[in-house]
Symmetry: C2
Subunit: 352 residues, 2 copies
């Protein structure tokens, strides 16, 4: 007999990092910022009565602030419910070809999930033996290109010329550079959006801006790309970004001083932590993100992962090809990293 | 030459009701609730520092509250960023057949937009001459069924037996009943979800619960339907509902007394307003929603619409087949409706 189950879109869903209810956990598994957002959010009064009204569908307040901050036009900014929403919309809007889209084999683990859910053909291009993206792999015919810079979970950055070569070689594809982690030491390719109409740069408030709880992401590109994105977005859900996100999100953008100070702290903690990891016998990839990707010379990554979890320190580990020897560790506060170092000393010496 | 524009998903986007920046406007165009949400939201303290963390991807706090309120299991509740997000996910998840889905020709104007964006074939079934849904139309082979109850923009309600007959006749399709307006005088078909595994009931916080600004919607059905929905949702965006929505949304559910009191006020204002409209020569469809759909016997709907707009009263008018003679007017406060009545008296007498 026919059943409604015959018509279901079945997918292998993305599994996000654990969000433990236990507040004693040291949470270094989802690349959250250890420092809160700018205190400017405390100065904003949310008018509860106003929640009865729909938010501004165009999110003008936030779009205008972001345009001003980045010195581009408001028509060049698209906002969404986290960069996941933004990139998901990009997949729907721009990756409509029968040709495969390209992204690295080791990268943000949502790309193949989106490709599957939207039935987009794709090819995963192998990183080299040092986990570097191979530029030439992205010069073949394709239906679109996406990768993060710095890449995740490796943390490895490529420079502007590297990306410009790829964008220039692919005028028939939209190239999306996911700059979720760019503020932690990388150089943005944003200046290229006025030179190439097929380049889209994606950002998030969830990492450097410390607002993962609000779900704010955005894309920047030429106004035509942004218009196509908005057309699809308005056809899926006209009002996605809610009033608190618009208000709180807009409030923090001006506080550049606080923003820079937390970035400096995270970068300095990262550099110190990398030194300690190396001292303990870890191979650490060169990270320009707020996390490091590291593998111990003798102790199994899953053993470290499970032992840390017992001690209430959560990091990230994937039982996936090529990276099962590695742990992705978010940079927390100095105190959190000291605690972790001390646990790693025990684990790596005890089992040696 | 090939261009990235060859691969764009182009769509005719949905046009939402205007959101004027002018706060002196009487806004009766988007079916917002004239009364604010329960004062319980003011008792909640949002910890700004906590915004640095991702929200709970499972939205357990809100899901559990809703399950308790409706006396069903948490596994029977799916939440999304407004009912638009929920229904959009339903289209993606459940309407995957090559057979056309069915919905009325006069109904929520987003259904055909979603069908277009997701490339789903559809047939719009003609309402009868009194704008009633014709049950028998939904007994043919199809890939899914959706309609609002009460229907929008007509406001006309069907009873539980009517819907049960359709659900029973379509075991091979998921039937979605969009109950966005059910609280304003209708009877929910929610009890049927334990009897039929192909029925999904959708609700929103944007109308009766007065929280359009937070973007909260939810669906209820058997746990298998909900699981399929969650699998697709986690594959599109794992963290859609932000922390303020989870916290504020959960806070108001217990305040049944305030909820009921605002519903009573809106219903009583509606009944009085309908009487006035009839007195002024309007044909008014029998509404069980927080809006009415009305056509004047002699004055052109667009003339009324434009004149009201000049006077800073916004209502909704569609230049669309069958309904271009009608206005959809949201029920506001008594004061707002008095102002509107007085303007309508001028317009309909002056042009007579």
């Amino acid at each position: 007999m026919n059943s409604w189950k015959d018509n279901i879109r079945t997918v292998e869903p993305y599994v996000p990092g654990e969000q433990p209810k236990d507040t004693n956990v040291i949470k270094l598994n989802t690349n959250e910022n250890p420092y809160g957002p700018s205190g400017k959010v405390n100065e904003v009064k949310l008018d509860m009565n106003n929640l009865r009204k729909y938010p501004d569908a165009k999110v003008s307040a936030l779009v205008n602030k972001l345009a001003e901050y980045h010195n581009i036009k408001p028509e060049q900014v698209f906002v969404g419910v986290g960069s996941d929403d933004v990139i998901s919309m990009c997949f729907m809007t721009f990756f409509n070809s029968d040709k495969p889209i390209f992204f690295p084999d080791v990268t943000y683990s949502f790309y193949d999930v989106w490709a599957d859910v939207y039935r987009i053909p794709y090819e995963q291009k192998k990183l080299d033996e040092n986990f570097n993206i191979v530029k030439e792999d992205y010069m073949a015919e394709n239906g679109g290109i996406i990768f993060p810079n710095p890449n995740a979970p490796t943390g490895i950055l490529v420079d502007t010329d590297f990306i410009e070569d790829i964008v220039k070689a692919n005028p028939a594809s939209v190239v999306i550079i996911d700059e979720a982690y760019i503020d932690f030491g990388g150089k943005s390719v944003l200046p290229l959006i006025d030179k190439y109409d097929n380049l889209l740069v994606v950002r998030t408030f969830s990492k450097s801006r410390s607002m993962a709880g609000l779900r704010i992401g955005y894309a920047m590109g030429n106004s035509e790309l942004i218009k196509y994105l908005n057309d699809v977005k308005y056809s899926v859900n006209s009002y996605t970004m809610n009033t608190p996100s618009i208000i709180y999100g807009s409030a923090i953008i001006d506080d550049e001083e606080y923003f820079r100070s937390t970035l400096d702290k995270i970068i300095s903690t990262r550099e110190r932590f990398v030194g300690e990891l190396k001292r303990l016998g870890f191979n650490v990839l060169p990270s320009k993100a707020n996390f490091v990707f590291a593998s111990h010379k003798s102790v199994d990554a899953n053993v470290i992962f499970e032992t840390l979890k017992e001690k209430k320190v959560y990091v990230r580990h994937w039982n996936a090809p090529r990276i099962s020897d590695y742990l992705r560790i978010t940079i927390g506060t100095d105190e959190e990293m000291d605690k972790l170092i001390s646990l790693l000393e025990d684990i790596c010496c005890a089992t040696k």
